[in-house]
Every structure is written in C-alpha cells, then in structure tokens.
C-alpha cells in the first residue's frame, strides 16, 4: 500500500484490527466482519472480549516499533501468548526463542529494547507479532524510522515471511520492495483507493494522473 502522507494508509490499517471504528461500509477479515456481528439483517457491535480475540489473530508492526521497554526481547514475545491466549510459559518461551532465532536475534533474547539498534528492535517487534501466530500481518511503514543501512535487515525478514506464505498488508515507501514482494499494489490518496493492480503494472504504467505525479516524486 503506497500513497502520500495523510492519505489514510495508517488509518486503513487501524480499521482492519478495529483500533479505529469505521463509520460506514463493511470490512471483513477472512470472511468475518471486523468489530461487528451480522445476525439476520441486524448488525450488532461486538463486546470488548470479542474484539480483543479478533485482534489477537491479526499481527501489527508499527513505524516506531512500540516494544515494551520494561521487558526483555523474549518477555516482549511471550507476554501476549501467555496472558491473552493462555498458553503455558514453557510453550510460549520455546516459540519465542525460535522466532528470535529466525529473525537473527538469538543472542539478544535477554536484552532490553533500549539496548538494541533500531533494526534489531523492529525485528523483535515483528517476532512479537508472529508469536501470536496471526492469520494476517499489518505493517505500517516498518522501515521509515530506520537508518538506510538498517532497512535491509528488516526487509529481509519480511521477504522471508512472504515466501513462507504469510498474508501481509504493508504500508511502505520502499518501492523496490513493493514491486518485488507484493501480489497487489494499492495507491491511496485523500482517504480513498485511487488505483490498484499488479505492482509491476501500477508502478510502470499508472492509469491515474495522481498516481503518476506521486510516483514521479518517489521513484
């Protein structure tokens, strides 16, 4: 998902896991409505517990990592599986270890976020989201706050996820990455989807004037 600042990309991601309430329309994930339940022709708002349960199936990664600073990397990973999914500590820790190793941070298991570089923090944040075994991952500009030389390590992890078949919605300004990894590309502006299609088509041959002018500035 690409688009200029303020075009509503973050807002859209936040709607998908109901951090933001939608005023109109229907939004469903994996065939189920988000935040509401349809019974007959009536729409019922979901209670807190149901909303939380739905959210736990969707992972989210933020621009500014938002790791819990008072917990080590491993504790960041096991917190939600233990408290939300009620997994046993042993199971959660075992998966946490494997995930940290997978993102290349096996040795940093017991480091606090402040002791990690930006790229390392973002990789922990991705592992934290994965620890809930989500059906869908949302990424909101995961590399925008990183030094250029740290961007690669985070993109590598995401590329690996894509290859393993994880469904991901990624907001990014890394056009090369978008072209290479994504199945479909969405261009947003002014709160609406302006254009959508195969990444190669949209990037190489944009149909709308707005898309063209945006791409001419970022490519």
């Amino acid at each position: 998902m690409i688009g200029p600042s303020g075009s509503g990309k973050s807002t859209f991601l936040r709607c998908i896991n109901h951090l933001e309430k939608i005023d109109a329309g229907r939004l469903s994930v994996d065939g189920e409505l988000v935040g509401y339940q349809q019974r007959g022709d009536k729409l019922y708002e979901l209670g807190d517990d149901a909303v939380c349960k739905k959210r736990s199936e969707i992972g989210m990664v933020f621009q500014h990592f938002n790791l819990f600073p008072h917990m080590t990397a491993l504790e960041n990973l096991v917190e939600a599986p233990i408290r939300v999914k009620r997994e046993s500590r042993a199971v959660a820790v075992e998966r946490g270890r494997r995930l940290l190793e997978r993102v290349g941070l096996g040795e940093k298991m017991h480091a606090y976020p402040k002791q990690l570089s930006g790229g390392q923090q973002q990789r922990v944040a991705i592992a934290r989201a994965l620890a809930m075994q989500p059906k869908l991952m949302l990424f909101d500009e995961p590399t925008s706050a990183l030094d250029p030389e740290l961007v690669g390590e985070v993109l590598d992890v995401m590329r690996g996820l894509a290859e393993d078949g994880m469904t991901m919605v990624v907001v990014t300004h890394e056009m090369g990455f978008a072209r290479e990894v994504s199945d479909s590309l969405v261009f947003m502006d002014g709160g609406v989807v302006v254009e959508k299609g195969k990444p190669r088509d949209v990037l190489a041959n944009p149909q709308h004037e707005r898309t063209r002018s945006f791409l001419s500035k970022v490519l």
Binding site: C52, S56, A125
Partner: protein
C-alpha cells in the same frame, strides 16, 4: 602545516606529545569566605545548644531508647505503612477510574479527589474519631423496611487507631491518585496501541504495560509522600493514638522536660526519614530497568569507583617511574 598536509599525524604513527599545560589555577576566594561564615554559624548553634540551653542530656539519653518511645516508633511505622498502602492502592484505583471512558466512574473519582484533597487531614482524622457521636451504629438501607442492616457499634469498628488510619489513608489516596494519573498519562500512546493490537484487554494493558512503565514517574513523588506521611502521622495525636509524638508529649507533660523530648522525638523522625531516602533510591533503580542503557550506580559502587580513581594517579605515577628506570 606539514603535519596536516603530509598526513603523518593522522595515521597510527604517534608524533611527539604536545607539552603538558602548567598553568596557575583560578583562585576561589568566595569559597573560603562562605566556608568561614558557615563554620561561625555552626559553632554558634552548637555552643548555644550544648552550653547555653541547659538541656538535660542525661534525660535525652535516657528517653532515646526508653520503652514508651520505642513503642511509639512501632505505632508510627504501622500508621505510615498502612496509610500508604491504603493511599497507593486506592490512589491507583482512583487514577484508573479518572481516566476511564465511562463518565460516571470518572466523575466519582473526580468528586472523591475534590472532597478529600479539599479538607484538612487533621479535620478528617478528627471526623472519624468523633463519628460515633452522631452515628452510634453503622447501618445500611432504610430503617423500618426489609432492606435494613444494622452493623456493629461505630466505636468498636473505628478505634482510635482506625480513625487516624482512615483519616491519613483516605486523604493520601486523593494525592496519590493525582500522582498515579500523571504517571499513566506520561506513558506513550503507542504502548497501549501495540498492546491492544496484540489482543490485550483494557485491564490487562493497564496492569501489564502502562502501570509498570508509569512506576518510574510515580515512585519518586511516592517516596516523597511516604516521608511526608511518616511525619504527618503525628497528627494521630488528636485521636489519642500512642504514636511517637503522642508518647513524647505524654512523657513531657509528666516530667516537664519538653525540649528534651522534642529532641528525642525529632532524632527518631530524622533517623527514619533518612532510612526511607535510601530505600527510595533502590526502588527507583529497580523501576528504571529498561529505561536506560545502564542503571545508575549505587552509593557503594560509587564509593568503590571513587577510591579507585583516587588511587589511579598514584598507581600511574608508580608505573611511570618504574618504566623510566
């Protein structure tokens, strides 16, 4: 010039060291003047207390560790600890209520803080102490209907100690609520968002993510409140609770050695607040974990480092002289 352009000095090869600076240091006459002034004042105060005041030091010495005083210390500590437990626990609840999206809950908290912060602690203690005058029995519901419950006598439930504890604790909760609220607000918005995105409920986010981080902001003023409470607990005097100050006052009114007992009581208050100050340091250090790359050094560590750096020039000079030989 050649140094820079030739690139000789920029590499690994060390050139000749520049000459060490030998300058005459700036004089600080102000420091000497102020030191002399302070010494004069201290000497005068000590002289007045020791010689002029005619204090009976043997009385001070006798009562410092006397049984009644020791008992008073225990009661003071009990009051302080229990009142702070009530204050902190209720304060956290009130702060969370105050930030609740439920307007009724939020207003209840606002009203509590308004009321208990707006009236003097002394008056509140006095109120609980005298409640039985207007309410001999605790009751619930409406008299004469089935919805009526008559509890035990007010006096049996609200003893003198309880009256002081309620007054101190409930008042403290109002102040703690504001301290805790400031701490909760200080935690970055992204934290609760990240936690919510993981599927954590509001209560869980508060308990596991927000509160622990808020602690870093909450602890220092809470330490302050505890130290303040230790001394404020002397207001339990009006409820005739036998805490430290009350005991001192009782002894003094029997033997008229008022100033001597003020001395004894103050010594103990000072001693206890000093201990609390040390405790506060270690508590802050514990809750600072993860917020800094390195924890602040403890006084012990600092002492060790200071001794080492004091020795360092000495060690270095020996080392240099052995090498020169």
């Amino acid at each position: 010039m050649s140094d820079i352009t030739s690139g000789q000095r920029l590499g690994a090869s060390p050139g000749p060291r520049p000459e060490a600076i030998k300058a005459i240091p700036v004089r600080h006459p102000g420091r000497w003047v102020s030191a002399i002034l302070v010494l004069l004042v201290v000497a005068q105060v000590v002289y007045t207390i020791l010689v002029q005041a005619g204090l009976k030091w043997e009385v001070v010495g006798h009562y410092l560790f006397q049984g009644l005083i020791r008992g008073g210390i225990v009661v003071t500590l009990e009051l302080t600890v229990l009142a702070m437990i009530i204050g902190v626990a209720l304060g956290i609840v009130l702060a969370v209520m105050r930030l609740s999206p439920n307007p009724v809950v939020s207003w209840v908290s606002w009203f509590y803080i308004w009321f208990f912060r707006g009236t003097p602690v002394l008056v509140q203690i006095f109120f609980w102490f005298n409640l039985n005058l207007v309410l001999p029995h605790l009751t619930l519901g409406i008299a004469g209907t089935p919805f009526y419950w008559r509890g035990p006598g007010t006096n049996s439930l609200i003893t003198n100690f309880m009256a002081a504890l309620l007054g101190l604790g409930l008042n403290e909760a109002a102040y703690m609520a504001e301290i805790v609220r400031a701490g909760l607000i200080s935690v970055e918005q992204g934290q609760s968002e990240a936690a919510q995105a993981l599927g954590m409920t509001r209560m869980l986010v508060m308990r596991r993510i927000i509160l622990p981080q808020a602690m870093r902001v909450i602890i220092p003023p809470t330490g302050n409140e505890t130290i303040s409470m230790l001394k404020t607990s002397s207001l339990a005097f009006v409820a005739a609770v036998p805490e430290l100050f009350t005991r001192g006052e009782q002894i003094a009114s029997a033997n008229f050695n008022v100033v001597e007992l003020i001395f004894v009581v103050s010594t103990w208050y000072l001693f206890m607040t000093s201990i609390l100050t040390v405790g506060q340091f270690y508590l802050e250090r514990y809750f600072a974990r993860g917020s800094q790359r390195e924890l602040p050094t403890t006084p012990l560590q600092r002492l060790r480092r200071m001794l080492f750096t004091l020795h360092a020039p000495f060690v270095a000079s020996i080392w240099r002289s052995t090498r020169a030989r």
